[in-house]
Amino acid sequence: MQTPFKTPDGFFESHREAIWEAAQSDSHRIPHALVEVKPRAPLAVAAAVATVIIGTWFFTLLNQSDACETFACLWDNTQPEELQLSEEDLNQWIQDDLLFQDIMNSEDFL
């Protein structure tokens, strides 16, 4: 189809070069997607998978602490940061606890 759109002389040639150069400088090699992953031997893949599974299991075993059976043990093993509470909430809890202690120790209560 005839087009009324004109281009400067030699535009397509220089444009083509510019595109090629830009694409080359963008990546001096074939895009990652083009690099085919060579199939590994099935035995090697299976060995790698087995190593990862056994390694993970062993690591988990080493880091596993004894399970708690009492509330006191749980309390002792819980770090404040694991509670995921804000500073404000913690302060409120401490104040409530002090208030509770005061009430329990007051003469009226006793």
Binding site: M1, T3, P4, F5, K6, T7, P8, F11, F12, H15, R16, A18, I19, W20, A22, A23, D26, S27, I30, P31, H32, A33, L34, V35
Partner: protein, 187 residues
């Protein structure tokens, strides 16, 4: 599960993926021989200005070279290429939002004036009005009309590129044609 048909693809597609840079360069030249001008014309019709079309065309082919490995042979190369070209042109349109806030009549007059004074536009009054009218269409109608009227693309392929149903593409084309007829015939 339906099996997608494999289209016959141009030979140079494999060349674009070749490790040998001289073979890649030859494949690039072969691709550009076929598609450089059609893509430029498409983006120029959508964007109006030569500089914008040159930028969008450049971005399109750089993207093609970058992503050719991910091109699945279930579609025609042209469908994939024009999908990229369309996105690049739309990105540019969004970046440069030129006359979107003008009303349709003012926008048309502004585009007409731009084309009349553009040294790189060589068309008579009818062509000036036609292209000004196309440039003033809403985005979707502009894409549909450009690909159908200027690139003579089948509705089915158009629907694939624009991710729309064939019926909705036909409706957009019909509305675009109505608006353009109105602009071109008024004088």
């Amino acid at each position: 599960m339906s099996v997608q048909p494999q289209f016959e693809q141009p030979e140079w597609i494999d060349g674009l993926c070749n490790d040998d840079s001289s073979k890649r360069a030859r494949a690039f030249q072969a691709m550009m021989d076929v598609w450089h001008q059609p893509v430029y014309r498409f983006t120029r019709t959508l964007l109006g200005q030569h500089e914008d079309a040159a930028d969008a065309t450049q971005e399109t082919f750089i993207q093609v070279l970058r992503s050719i490995g991910s091109f699945r042979r279930e579609a025609k190369f042209s469908t994939w290429l024009f999908t990229i070209a369309r996105r690049k042109a739309l990105d540019l349109l969004r970046q440069r939002k030129r006359i979107e806030h003008l009303n349709e009549e003012l926008a048309f007059e502004a585009q007409l004036h731009t084309l009349q004074t553009d040294p790189l536009f060589d068309g008579d009054r009818a062509l000036q009005r036609l292209h000004a009218a196309v440039l003033t269409l809403p985005e979707r109608q502009k894409e549909v009309f450009t690909l159908r009227y200027f690139n003579e693309m089948p509705f089915a392929e158009l629907a694939q590129i624009l991710d729309l149903s064939e019926g909705s593409v036909k409706a957009s084309y019909f509305h675009a044609k109505e608006k353009i007829m109105e602009r071109v015939t008024i004088d």
